[in-house]
């Protein structure tokens, strides 16, 4: 089986790791973003207080989510917004297509939305004869390459400028070999401007939805959401139900945290509040469940719904940085993706909670204080109880627990191992088939005696 087709994170990572130079670049670039985050965070004296407030506001909102959804809907309806409800991805896609068709439209421009990625909206629209153009530069690049985003904030971080130059040469007719980011961005600007001017429908994601005003708030650096929505006759905002906040003033807390955590910027260039459509225009909000109410009902994992998609846990994760977003094979990669994905499909994503060293760095940087590493550990327990561990791990864990429960057996096993490691050839002790741990590592030299034997020899031993 080739690494790309293997069903595990470790298997897929092998593909990414084939190019050592690129892996190193990826690792260092994301760590640089993490360092920019630190600089911005340390310059904000009340940052830790803001994290606690954000966490508490999200906990409160989730504990009364049904009421806030109803309040949001009522406010939005009063604003002249049409509100739709989708239980799952299929219903979301159907509703969006219905709105596009009712508008008599065939040209759609979409700004960044992880939710529409999660629902696979683009293929659905394209299959039904609707042109849908991703307008965020990174998203447009990967759309032209027919790839999935590899990071929630930096969707094309797995690519080098040479890759982008090649893609633009093929699709946008730029000069072959062009690698200057300024010139490539200008080419995309010209190409996308035509699309903005022609689009009849603008689709956006939602960063925050405000229950008291019925507003949806969209944060971008490029201004692509504002340009598209400002021009198109119809705006469809696709809203994951966990994005609600009670009050407009809560945005002060979240806008202060979001980009400082994400990229180290003090705020996104555009923080846009869409509340009412203009006369003669339409604004729709599609509220999506798609497994969220189920996750809300899992006390151990409910906190994952507090996520504001800043990507800080990815930038800091030693596993993500060295394995790339595509190795997760889930819309949201990295540590947060590894705790969201088993809720969607436990069997398919069974390896993701193991794609972690449990170092806890993700939890340390999370702006809404999600206990990510603790949830990774808890998912491992759930997966084991459901019999979803790989056979080798299941078998070795069982054996180990038996040995650890029997001191005499442990002692005898230690003696055998110390002797064995000295005499069994290296090729056998480090054989990848038996010992995957040793694929890129050396076992330490076996000690001559056990700790127990050494301890018994100590003069002050009583």
């Amino acid at each position: 089986m080739s690494p790309a087709n293997t069903p595990t994170h470790a298997g897929r990572s092998e593909l990414f790791l084939l190019d050592a130079e690129r892996t190193t670049w990826h690792d260092e670039t994301l760590w640089f973003v993490r360092q920019k985050r630190d600089k911005a965070v340390y310059a904000t004296p009340e940052f830790q207080a803001l994290r606690q407030l954000a966490s508490d506001i999200k906990d409160h909102t989730l504990s009364r989510l049904a009421e806030y959804l109803e309040q949001f809907e009522a406010a939005a309806l009063a604003n002249g917004v049409r509100v739709h409800w989708a239980a799952d991805a299929a219903e979301h896609n159907r509703l969006v297509l219905d709105i596009v068709r009712a508008a008599g439209a065939s040209r759609v421009v979409k700004s960044k939305s992880m939710l529409t990625e999660e629902c696979h909206l683009n293929p659905h629209l394209l299959a039904n004869g609707v042109e849908v153009i991703d307008s965020d530069l990174g998203e447009r690049i990967i759309q032209l390459r027919d790839e999935a985003p590899s990071h929630v904030v930096l969707p094309a971080i797995h690519l080098k400028k040479e890759d982008v130059g090649e893609t633009f040469w093929q699709h946008l007719g730029t000069e072959k070999g062009l690698t200057d980011p300024q010139q490539l961005t200008e080419a995309a600007r010209q190409h996308l401007r035509e699309k903005f001017l022609a689009a009849e429908v603008a689709i956006s994601g939602v960063n925050f939805a405000i229950a008291e005003t019925g507003s949806v708030v969209v944060c971008t650096n490029e201004g692509n959401a504002d340009l598209a929505i400002g021009l198109a006759r119809v705006h469809i905002a696709c809203l994951g139900m966990e994005k609600l906040l009670p009050r407009l003033s809560d945005l002060a807390v979240f806008t202060r945290l979001l980009t400082r955590s994400a990229t180290g910027q003090p705020i996104t260039t555009f923080t846009s509040h869409f509340t009412k459509p203009l006369p003669g225009r339409e604004m729709h909000v599609v509220i999506v469940d798609n497994g969220r109410s189920k996750q809300l009902g899992r006390p151990d994992f409910r906190a994952s719904l507090k996520c504001i998609r800043c990507g800080a846990c990815m930038n800091t994760c030693p596993v993500y940085r060295r394995s790339g977003g595509h190795s997760y094979d889930f819309t949201i990669p990295g540590p947060i993706g590894a705790i969201l994905s088993p809720n969607i499909d436990m069997r398919k994503h069974a390896s993701l909670p193991f794609a972690s060293t449990l170092c806890g760095s993700c939890t340390d940087v999370c702006p809404v204080k999600i206990d990510i590493h603790a949830q990774l550990y808890k998912w491992r327990q759930v997966l084991a109880a459901e019999g979803m561990l790989p056979a080798s791990k299941q078998w070795s864990m069982k054996l180990l627990s038996r040995v650890l429960a029997r001191p005499a057996l442990f002692k005898a096993g230690g003696a055998v191992a110390r002797l064995g490691l000295r005499f069994v050839p290296h090729g056998l002790t480090h054989a990848p088939g038996y010992n995957p741990w040793a694929i890129a590592r050396e076992l330490p030299a076996a000690p001559k005696q056990s700790f127990r034997a050494w301890y018994a020899q100590q003069p002050d031993h009583v």
Binding site: A49, H60, N221, G230, L251, T271, H273, K276, L296
Partner: protein
């Protein structure tokens, strides 16, 4: 009203835990000086120019933008007048927009631009260059004071911090992604 609505709300109600309290947010404040605002806005790619007074506006604009740009504005005689009914192809020709910002935020160099000041919802992003005129007495320290000022969120409104930008190609910062290629705040 779809059947999914009832199903979703019921599922959420069944899953949500016992109510937890909604915290009050303290009024975190800080410096709100022109120097702080200007330093942050300059660091994120914007430009700040302090006017001696509003009557100086046309003269300073002429110095900053010597080219004879097609201008949309409610504050100066416009060479390309824009209203909410302006057709898209006319709108796309705007080279310079000069708009009034309501207030600025020192901690992040952002300004609040309400719909009433935009002439057209797409004007702040479709124009090639954007100039925002701000009364320096209307500077606040943090986003907490900023949202306290937004008593009516209106139909549409934005916090705008610097020119449109992207770093999607190898993390190289490029100014002028889709929106305005430059952003200047004129303080008076």
């Amino acid at each position: 009203m779809s059947s999914s609505r009832a199903k979703i709300v019921a599922a959420v109600r069944a899953s949500q835990p016992a109510p937890l309290p909604l915290p009050a947010v303290p009024e975190f404040t800080g410096p709100a000086s022109v120097a702080d605002f200007s330093a942050v806005l300059t660091a994120i790619g914007g430009r700040v120019v302090v006017l001696d007074g509003l009557p100086q506006l046309a003269e300073v604009l002429g110095q900053l933008f010597p080219a004879n740009y097609l201008l949309a504005s409610a504050m100066l005689p416009a060479t390309l007048p824009v209203t909410s009914d302006t057709p898209i192809d006319r709108l796309a020709a705007v080279e310079l927009a000069v708009l009034r910002a309501a207030f600025g935020v020192a901690e992040n160099g952002t300004v609040w631009l309400p719909e009433a000041n935009m002439l057209h919802r797409a004007l702040p992003t479709i124009t090639q260059h954007l100039v925002l005129v701000l009364d320096q007495r209307n500077l606040v320290a943090t986003m907490h004071q900023a949202y306290a000022q937004v008593t009516d969120v209106g139909g549409y409104g934005m916090f705008l911090a610097g020119p449109s930008k992207t770093a999607d190609i190898e993390q190289s910062l490029v100014i002028g992604a889709h929106g305005a290629r430059s952003l200047t705040v004129l303080l008076h």
